[in-house]
Symmetry: C2
Subunit: 592 residues, 2 copies
């Protein structure tokens, strides 16, 4: 059975050596001293590695079942959920006034990685609740906040997000679910929603569904969509639970992975709902959650890669097969461990350099969200909006590929469910799809974010890279291995942006045909940037006589790998982008 | 439920327009007139699309079960197997003297693609039998051939290959299964084998296991391994079935995919076995099958991509979501079909250009095998030996990626088992692992095949590309779109070979660290080559006034996509290779 060890040390490195969180002026960050964050991460490490990780395979094997409208979760999930609730983990970065711990989002993300890595399907129950609670926090009335938030933040009640319908996923303007206004100001919600994660279960005493629906007579399409709170049990004025609402789980989907999470078809049959936010502005309300939600999914991609990598590494050190071509390494054994072989190294280094780079990218992104929310920093908000599709699309695509590579280390055993490597792959697969399929992320990036506010944010990103390169131009220790590759990669990114500017206006397809490549090109540049920054931090620690020399030297070596071996992908993506739409759109649909 | 349509027309194009099979001097090829191959392919198309494809999901859902030593296959498999046997499909390319149809291997491969694409798990029962029969054909005594081949070629009896043991997969020198010589010339085989595809079932009246084992007292390691025939039921001298042999299925593996195939733990308990070939030369006997077997697995990768692509295309034309940014395409509908969107096109064109290129590469490879076997052509044998790891590794990696892309077209529905797209991905995954994991293919390519016969075969490959480029240097219609990209890509391949030559002797790790990239670089050059050749054939057909203009124009457009969008990967692989072992091997094992 796979194991999971929380990467506490590496998280501490990113928080303190790289991001210097406790020195930041973001409200709440001064509390994030190394001792404090270490204590939080250690505790999170315990519950995730000892309680959640062992349940990961159980959840995969048992899955959820539907019995007369009642959804049963896998063995042990209820007890674990109780422990997570009791530990206060569900409200870590939620406001103290509603029972949360009030920590910054960056800490929620650091801890969230461990939860996702140890058990993605389980963690989604609280993850969806977090998303729904955030929406109520941002758009609810005072009364709605008081009614729902304390119980949602403690996960006494869980939450869901209901967007998709059978005939519409990305294109929500096609939505059919209706919300009929009632005399008392409430609405009657009717329709069917699909792919509702954690849609029904008995782990919580109530479930608060956030449902997108159309109020008859409103604007056509996406502009006539409103957001509603639809509780499974109506909440009485005194806070007690009342009647069962007209919402039920019609079916459980059989999925490729995340079996431990109940993915429901939800039927709304004149269910009582309460408008959240403004009429017809439901999409806007959803979109304010988008950056966080998408960063969270990017995190899942990275987290599954981390978990898979840990187990691939254990196997590579343990499994004896073949001999080192440069000389026997394990003379007392019948063969050398897999890790002596260069191609196994390549495989492991791909994973290691991605995971550590991805972690830094994510936490940097989370810090930007804190800056935007806690400091009201519009530039940070613009930059994280730009980078969100990159975080989501690039980290989930690459994260998935890394789980496939980790599985490959196991040879035939990687294909056998008993060894658990297949689950990482199957679970990671969903992250490329939900919360906006990655093709939609690429469209968002190129079609919307690049030009946002007159292209201000992408220019800010380039300035950031340029300043960093300039500041470190004389750093001989890092020049050849880090600064030059970063410079080359960011030039590729600029050239791609230039191609879009010159061709996209005449022919939008010329830009959109390169959108997916651009997302990956951008992702590599971001990882190149954080790797160069981490290298600088590691070099400074070594120069300053850090006691843990091996850690920092390993960090530098891992970074060098990324810069030398992964970053050359940017030129390939640029070459593809530069071919425009010609070959992509050459065929008529009928010619396929 | 997914559907499958046999790509008869495209197969005919490759066989006749590209490979000109009926004009070849290879014995048996003159029979391969277009009408004849068309008739065979049409018939194969019927049974695969009508009988096997509908059973694909059944097999995935039901899987196999073990009940008191008896393995049950999924519903409908027995009836379908009977139909396949009755149709004579199992011996298509087997010698007529043992009941086969005597057709060239190239036809076996063309038909085999359809079988694999429509139902990989099912097709493996006959596929393994084919492999085992080929081994007996090549290494058996006359009596062994007479005893086993007719029933194996008709699939009255099926066959298996038993190599892997729990502690050894790639490194078969660690093998523990023993073969004790008996007075009558037979052996008693004892030990455990794992991952035995089609190891036990009741679809055939006997199962002929080919088992690698060590005769005590023989040479150490891989040099002391012999190959044995171990029938499930002993075959009496009159050909009737005798006593049950000491071989049994101890367990069925739960796998990520190919659920319809029974993957068995096989226990040999003093089972009677008969030496096949020479004592201690078992590996050599296995290796003579290797090119075919690995080409067959490369075919599976391409075939799953084909099946997945067909369904992605149907969905992309059918599903209405969003509007074409350049103008509404479906004004009468609520939205335009997915296929209008550039990123969906990119996705589909990746798949289409890979599948068609991969098909051409495979059939060209199969023709080389025929040349080697039927013409005794040593050069062809050398070239296909060189290309075999490329076919296996590149086509299964890329094939898998394409099934993932096809799944992505479906959005959330791609993750739901009901839609069947997950199965293509899960089934395709095994092809990257079995018959030598792809890292081992890369090692074989760089560590062994490149330098084989003094590098003669890789030089022959380069000569082939060069001659083709030279012959077509003045072809203005193809120059910019095909010849120049091919030239650039083959230069990258040569440069990589040069790097290995200059650095590999001093430090084998410098070459082996780039082996995986080299395999992919080589694969792209091969697909670039066959695409340029197909473009030439298509252009000639158009110039010659072919009636099916649309087909040839589509072919050219698809080829242009590959050259423009996929081939630039070669420069990235070269850049990685050129970094040698420095960053790959920088860390000690303990530093990970």
């Amino acid at each position: 059975m796979p194991s999971y060890t929380a990467p506490t040390k590496d998280l501490q490195f990113v928080l303190h050596d790289l991001l210097n969180v406790s020195q930041s002026d973001i409200p709440g960050y001064s509390d994030l001293e190394a001792d404090f964050t270490s204590a939080v991460l250690e505790e999170a490490g315990k519950i995730t590695s000892e309680v959640l990780a062992p349940l990961n395979v159980v959840g995969d094997k048992e899955g959820c079942s539907l019995d007369n409208g009642v959804v049963r979760v896998p063995t042990g999930f209820q007890e674990a959920f109780d422990q997570v609730r009791e530990g206060g983990w569900t409200g870590l970065d939620m406001p103290e006034e509603f029972g949360g711990q009030g920590l910054p989002y960056v800490m929620g993300t650091a801890v969230g990685e461990m939860f996702s890595a140890s058990n993605q399907a389980f963690t989604m129950y609280q993850g969806l609740t977090h998303g729904a609670a955030s929406a109520i926090l941002a758009h609810g009335t005072d009364q709605q906040k008081e009614t729902y938030l304390p119980n949602m933040i403690s996960c006494e009640w869980t939450g869901t997000m209901n967007l998709t319908e059978p005939h519409c996923g990305t294109d929500l303007g096609l939505m059919r679910t209706k919300a009929e206004p009632q005399d008392d100001g409430s609405f009657k919600i009717s329709g069917q929603k699909i792919f509702i994660s954690a849609g029904e279960h008995e782990m919580a005493s109530n479930i608060i569904h956030l449902v997108l629906a159309k109020i008859p007579g409103g604007p056509e399409g996406i502009k006539g969509v409103s957001l509603f709170i639809v509780p499974k049990f109506i909440v009485n004025e005194d806070g007690s639970l009342g009647a069962r609402n007209g919402v039920s789980c019609g079916n459980l989907e059989e999925k490729m992975g995340i079996h431990g999470n109940s993915t429901c078809v939800m039927n709304y049959d004149e269910a009582t709902g309460y408008l959240l936010g403004t009429e017809h502005k439901g999409m806007r309300a959803m979109f304010t959650m988008m950056n966080e939600a998408r960063l969270g999914v990017g995190m899942q991609g990275m987290a599954q890669a981390e978990a898979a990598y840990q187990n691939a590494l254990i196997y590579a050190k343990d499994r004896l097969q073949g001999r080192d071509v440069t000389g026997v390494k394990n003379p007392d054994g019948p063969a050398d461990p897999l890790i002596v072989h260069p191609d196994i190294r390549r495989n492991l280094m791909d994973q290691k350099s991605f995971v550590e780079g991805g972690r830094a990218f994510l936490l940097w992104g989370a810090m930007m969200i804190d800056k935007a929310h806690r400091n009201g920093d519009k530039d940070a908000d613009g930059l994280i909006s730009l980078l969100t599709p990159v975080i989501k699309g690039f980290l989930t695509d690459e994260g998935y590929d890394m789980t496939v590579q980790a599985q490959q280390v196991y040879g035939g055993h990687g294909y056998i469910e008993e060894w658990g490597m297949s689950q990482f792959t199957r679970d990671a697969r969903i992250a490329m799809i939900y919360e906006g399929a990655n093709g939609v992320q690429a469209l968002d990036l190129v079609g919307r974010k690049l030009a946002q506010d007159g292209g201000k944010h992408v220019m800010a990103f380039f300035d950031l890279v340029k300043s960093f390169l300039k500041e470190n131009a004389e750093n001989e220790a890092l020049k050849a291995d880090f600064m030059e590759p970063l410079k080359a990669a960011s030039k590729d990114l600029q050239a791609a942006g230039m191609f879009f500017m010159q061709n996209g206006m005449k022919n939008p397809n010329a830009a959109l045909s390169g959108s997916y490549d651009f997302m990956h090109l951008f992702g590599h540049v971001c990882l190149g940037l954080v790797w160069a920054q981490m290298a600088k931090a590691a070099q400074e620690a070594l120069d300053g006589g850090a006691s843990d020399k091996a850690f920092y030297e390993t960090k530098l070596a891992t970074g060098r790998y990324y810069m030398a071996r992964r970053l050359p992908a940017t030129a390939m993506h640029l070459a593809r982008i530069n071919t425009g739409a010609d070959t992509v759109m050459a065929l008529d649909a009928e010619q396929f």
